[in-house]
Amino acid sequence: MIVKNLKKMYGEKTVLNINEFSFEPGKIYAIIGANGSGKSTFLKVIAGTLKPSEKPEVILENKTLAYMPQKNYAFKTTVLKNVMLTAKNKAEDLNLAKEYLSEMKIDHLMNQNASKLSGGETARMALCRIFLSGSDIILLDEPTAAMDIESTLLSEALIKKYKKKTNATIIMVTHSVNQARRLADEVIFMKDGKILESGSSEEILNSPTKPETKEFLEFFSSEI
């Protein structure tokens, strides 16, 4: 997938300004950067849920795309039905849905009203839901922000497994440098709506070239 000319302004303030970036299949991209650096805006403009200030180009090459927002809506029906929203082949997808739910350890909540789930449980359900879409490109906005450590690790395993199985492109925003280290093949560092630095996970996380990236990473050296 290649994206070009992604621009978003609020009044005079430019919150997203990306000329061109290309994502490869079979890779996990972690987007890191401070609050307000434009990470969510980046995903929303690619997904088309936010109207950009200029016409962007998103070249999908016949691939399908799904996006999981920072705030996920749980429909007032069962967890299973929520996960099955994108189901095409009912019987096949039902097995898959159950498999994902059990991998996220919420299969016991399958028949519960999804709107009654806790924040972390909702996020786990949303992750199952997004993977059930079977898309080639998956955008995740801080998928594990509301999760405890166990769920976070379960999510990471599921993300990796999905990538392996489908050769999908996974682009995720994360606030955890350690998560990026565990998961990502590539890291994108954003500041003020721009991609300041990007490259392989090792390159960026171990020997960044830009002083801003270094400074940002130093803050996280004490992270648990």
């Binding site: 997904a47 088309g48 849920t49 399908t64 795309l65 799904a66 996006y67 999981m68 927002p69 705030k71 996920n72 809506y73 429909f75 007032k76 029906t77 929203l85 994108t86 009203n113 949303a126 839901r129 997004i130 879409s133 898309s135 955008l139």
Partner: protein
């Protein structure tokens, strides 16, 4: 007072044909106007909330203004339109239940639309972000959103029904409170009161309150169910 209430209850329990006619005309009118207003107001409110077009703010303000339109003004406009010199005289709507329903639809639709606009503006962004992210079709998104908002829609309907059953100004001007034809509970209460027949006025008043109570109970029970599921 106690005497009046006792007699009123007695009258309610007797099978008074005029009373029964008033009640049936009232219910016919209320159900028709509230349902038509719902069918028009919900799509209009959804449009006001979700569509992006220039002049949208102005239209929302206009709708809110119409929402506060005094019933007598609406009655006056309909009267002029339907009367012997009005452009719609051939439809023969003056002094008919249909004419009253039209007047009430004009009054209630803006209320339904404004309510819909309000609840959708708070609920829709999160729903749409999720459905769009999942790549769901427009049709599926619409049915999901309607299902999510069913309690809000129901309570909006209730507001419309309450407005309809309690309204006097427009229905008395357009309907003319003709006995056995267009006389509804509110207009009948006014007529009986001015004639000094407090017993009949009070018994209609009690029935009006009881119907209102019943509708509220039904809606409450239903909404509890919706919240549980």
């Amino acid at each position: 007072m106690q005497n009046i209430i006792e007699k009123a209850i007695e009258l309610m329990l007797s099978h008074d044909s005029m009373l029964q006619n008033i009640i049936s005309v009232t219910l016919r009118m209320c159900f028709s106007s509230s349902i038509v207003a719902l069918l028009l107001g919900v799509p209009l409110g959804a449009f006001l909330s979700l569509a992006k077009f220039p002049g949208k703010k102005g239209l929302i303000v206009l709708n809110r203004t119409l929402m506060g339109m005094p019933p007598v003004v609406c009655g006056l406009i309909c009267y002029i339109l339907f009367s012997g010199v009005g452009p719609l005289r051939h439809l023969e709507l003056l002094y008919t239940v249909s004419g009253m329903v039209i007047a009430q639809v004009i009054l209630i639709t803006p209320i339904v639309a404004a309510n819909t606009e309000t609840f959708l503006s708070s609920m829709a962004p999160d729903i749409l972000e999720t459905t769009k992210g999942l790549g769901l079709s427009r049709w599926k998104t619409m049915t999901l959103t309607l299902t999510e908002c069913k309690y809000q829609i129901l309570s909006t309907y209730l507001v419309g029904f309450a407005r309809s059953i309690a309204e006097v100004g427009a229905v008395s001007m357009v309907g003319g409170a003709i006995v056995y034809k267009t006389n509804v509970m509110t207009t009948a209460i006014m007529n009986y009161t001015s004639r000094g027949d407090f017993t009949r006025a009070m018994s209609l008043g009690i029935i009006l309150m009881l119907i209102s109570l019943l509708v509220n109970i039904i809606v409450h029970v239903f909404s509890e169910r919706v919240a549980e599921k």
